[in-house]
Subunit: 163 residues, 2 copies
């Protein structure tokens, strides 16, 4: 289990915050800021996942399967893993009853992976909590700042995939 990254979760205030929190914060610089932020976010994900007996990787696996039923190879590509890494990952998820393997109709080589009802429910509940926890990270932001951050993050993500 990844008790990962930096911190335990702190209490979360409601995500209302409209008035500027004039907190002066030392600027980490763009690089350190992004790197450290990534650890914070991953830490939160790790925590939420761990609470439900999942690892970040497994959580990601389930997340991908929410609206897809890919083959092993496709799945590996989505997660950026080697195909040989998928076997065990899916094995363990299957053993826990979260995921199912079924042969693909059109191609005898392909094994399609899909969520079981239990898997669906687990990922749904976990997503709700992760959503809340991540949102809590932005508690000190104004709505406008949140919107800015959202947009900027989106640009980076988009830019990184089009390479």
């Amino acid at each position: 289990m990844p008790k990962d990254a930096t911190q335990p979760a702190r209490p979360r205030p409601a995500a209302a915050a409209t008035t500027a929190d004039r907190t002066e914060v030392a600027d980490l610089g763009i690089v350190d800021g992004l790197v450290q932020l990534s650890f914070v976010v991953q830490g939160v994900l790790g925590q939420v996942a761990t609470e439900r007996g999942l690892s970040v990787v497994q959580l990601r696996l389930l997340g991908v399967l929410r609206d897809r039923t890919p083959g092993m190879r496709e799945l590996a590509q989505h997660l950026g893993l080697d195909k040989s890494s998928m076997t065990g990952l899916v094995d363990r998820a299957e053993r826990r009853g979260l995921v199912r393997r079924s042969p693909a109709p059109h191609d005898g080589r392909v094994i399609q992976v899909s969520l079981t009802p239990a898997g669906h429910e687990l990922v749904r509940a976990t997503a709700v909590e992760a959503d809340r926890e991540i949102l809590a990270l932005t508690a000190h932001l104004t709505d406008e700042q949140r919107a800015q951050l959202s947009q900027l993050a989106s640009v980076l993500v988009a830019g990184s995939t089009v390479l």
Copy 2:
């Protein structure tokens, strides 16, 4: 919950576009934006680390040691790991000649960990490249946006570590 670090995600209330550049990017929403961004950043770090035969954890270890010479316990706390996890981590780094263990003068129980010259050089070179790669992620941003993002990230990081 990452749908996937590299692909579209579920819709979320869009934000009022600020003075965005002409790149129209679908807003992922604050949560998915942050989550996917964290995967992108971690991916870059993992890539850079792997190129030099390191894992992200090891890179982080070396990074912490750049300006510190902590004991094992202190180190564990910095990395958010259990102290029992440190032994192996430091063992492996030591075996590679990147790190050194030395007894602390004032406390016979404490083992201080420090970088070897080789470790210093490796972390230096890796940091340079990581810096470049992370910075490259922001290639589509204006200087002003970069500054904004840097500031926002800093606020989140600060808010998450305090308490």
